[in-house]
Symmetry: C2
Subunit: 428 residues, 2 copies
């Protein structure tokens, strides 16, 4: 807009020079001051941050990645910057999917693939991410707009389509297969698929795609009463697929979404959806960057803050043919997996033996302490604090010393004393 205003000003000034009648100059001046004001207004329009080539761990306020690269220094992640190699597909950009997309974008994920066919509505404003001025836009367009502003380093691909249609499913499949972003990657073109859809039909379609592609994915969901949710890890052939243990009751003959919207409008809360998105992306980070333990299933029951976990094996009588194929492959690969596990255990055992060999002169790591050493100099390593830190409470030794000040002595000698003190407290 600033460029346009500058051009307009130039046009105006050349018009002024062409004017023979000086009485008209006042009108030109007025127009010029209007352009100046507009230029000032336009300057308050957001400026985007520029792209960053490498993730720096430098601790300066201007580094958007300093707090993430600190995960390496803290010993949580071995190589944080690897996150730029990964592609994550998010199906459903609603209350959970949009927040998951924002979290991954702020974490500096390499590439995000976004799928949704819905439009932003005011009725979505009780969940995080979308803003009222985006009402009417497709959720994919609105998400790309917001995410690009937040972190231009992330490669965004958005698909405004319904994966449950034939055409939509085909595009979905081919987008997952596309390996242009990292041609050396094995398997499909994405590292993980996150299902953040709100209905059974769409979940079954994601399940079908991932079973066919042998693609690991994570399921997420929030209950209709808005107060509980879950996430689940699905590895084709290794864990239960979504069809291995389907829900007991499903919609049939009617559109689930219509049923939900016009019949019994589902409740939703930004809290539950924020927690579910957070748990989902935290497990995504653990999965991609190989730290901690990825939960096979994690529930969130907010009324009592209860978080059930469980693991589900695949169902040998699953109705999904691709799932049965993956199960067969997984069984066939068992001897190879066992051999690899055995080799790793043996290597670890050897390493341990090597470690022990270093201490043959003191096999049990025994050291002798001089009993006569005065206690006051017996400082253990945990008592030594880095500069600037101090113990908030006195140490046990200090606590037992008699008080030097005039304050009443709180040390309790016997039960009688304790009773007297309690009585005094109650009498206050």
């Amino acid at each position: 807009m600033e460029v346009e205003l500058k051009e307009m000003l130039d046009d105006l000034l050349s018009l002024r020079q062409s004017l023979s009648d000086p009485s008209l100059h006042a009108s030109i001046d007025k127009l010029q001051s209007r352009i100046d004001r507009l230029t000032h207004l336009a300057k308050s329009v957001p400026v985007r941050r520029s792209k960053v080539k490498d993730m720096s761990s430098e601790v300066v306020d201007s580094n958007p990645y300093s707090r993430l690269m600190a995960l390496q220094r803290m010993g949580i992640v071995e190589n944080y910057e690897r996150i730029r190699e990964f592609s994550v597909a998010i199906v459903g950009i609603g209350g959970v999917g949009s927040v998951a997309a924002e979290m991954l974008t702020r974490c500096g994920i390499g590439r995000l693939l976004l799928y949704d066919y819905d439009k932003v509505e005011l009725a979505n404003m009780n969940r995080l991410f979308f803003r009222p001025e985006q009402v009417g836009m497709t959720k994919t367009d609105a998400a790309v707009q917001t995410l690009t502003d937040i972190n231009p380093d992330v490669v965004l691909e958005s698909y405004t389509l319904n994966i449950t249609t034939v055409q939509g499913f085909e595009t979905f499949m081919s987008s997952l297969k596309n390996k242009a972003f990292r041609p050396t990657k094995e398997g499909s073109g994405v590292d993980l698929v996150l299902s953040c859809v709100d209905n059974y039909e769409a979940r079954m379609v994601v399940n079908q795609a991932c079973n066919e592609l042998n693609q690991t994915w994570m399921e997420s969901g929030v209950s209709e009463d808005a107060v509980s949710g879950h996430i689940q890890l699905l590895i084709p052939g290794e864990t239960a697929c979504f069809a291995c243990a389907p829900p007991l009751v499903v919609a049939s003959g009617v559109d689930e979404r219509t049923l939900k919207r016009e019949g019994v409008c589902a409740a939703s809360l930004p809290t539950t959806m924020g927690v579910v998105a957070g748990l989902l992306v935290q497990n995504t980070l653990k999965f991609l960057l190989k730290f901690g333990h990825v939960s096979p299933y994690l529930g969130y029951s907010s009324l009592k803050d209860f978080f059930p976990t469980m693991a589900m094996k695949p169902n040998p009588q699953c109705s999904n043919a691709a799932c049965l194929e993956r199960q067969r492959e997984y069984l066939l690969a068992k001897p190879a997996r066992d051999a690899a596990a055995k080799a790793m255990m043996e290597a670890e055992a050897k390493a341990t033996v090597a470690d022990v060999a270093l201490h043959t002169d003191n096999e049990w790591n025994i050291s002798v302490v001089d009993d006569n050493e005065p206690e006051s100099t017996c400082v253990t390593s945990s008592d030594v604090l880095p500069e600037g830190l101090t113990h908030e409470l006195p140490s046990a030794d200090e606590f037992l010393k008699p008080h030097a000040s005039g304050a009443p002595d709180m040390a309790i000698d016997d039960l009688e004393d304790l009773r007297r003190q309690l009585d005094a407290l109650n009498a206050d």
Copy 2:
């Protein structure tokens, strides 16, 4: 901006009429088309949503509260609209506080009081809420800007100050005491204080203020390695205050924040902070709207998805004088509390007796089932589904019926059969 452009167009058209030389009309036309283009550009600038007088539960896309009011229909909350009466103070608008503020704003909280003295930096971009174009603004100003756009119905009060200074503490206290928003409220002017600060000193100040005001508050925190966090409910006199069990090690003689930033830059993640903010605000909603169970303490250890809980009683030897005063008051009020609890229990018992009295003709609720009734008509209430829903799996009865179709019979008669089927599966 559109108004300014319209005025400019009027000026330009009047200039055109004053021009005696028609050869200059082309220049005017060019300027006019430029204004048209700018008007078109300006129209893409965000339009805010207007205020809403009452929270409607009407299920239409344009209602920003439909999914929240649905909590009533779902039987979770008795009166959701009461949320508009409540005031919540959030101290610290960082990774947790800003998300908590956004969640409460989207939930339609009555009034939010925000406290922070820091500015937005690019180094904050790895957490939710703030955007790169807000870099350099105070966190309070940036938050007010974003939150007003999201929900203009919320009354926002922001305080750009450091509560750990003498002047800052005074303003903090008087803002909490101010009851202009709901003059009939008992106690202070706010319903809950959320502490979302990142250092010990500020937590002790919030603790001091809340002990003095007898104000219930919630503490939150995230570890320096970014992979765990917690929330805690503190009711002066009833639960442990923050000084009742202080951390074992604290900073002394140096500024904790400096220590953290330049020495060992703390790691942070949008996931952990999003989860902690979600758990914090979910418990805030449970506390304000009286549903579910408010957790006294809830930890989040993300590496293993472990959520420890505990409750802490106040320390009779707490170093905080105001805490001891609140403890004394709580003890003094014990007889009144016990009497109230007893009265409530008796009332409930009476109600139960009254319920039973309705069924004196069948005290044990026994009904007789005719054993000769044919099984096919024995439909229990759980088998009857609302229109549009169907069982995904066959019922146990159907499963045992012999297959009518030409598909291979999967019923297993004996062990020999089972072995044959397994062999066939492995041979595939």
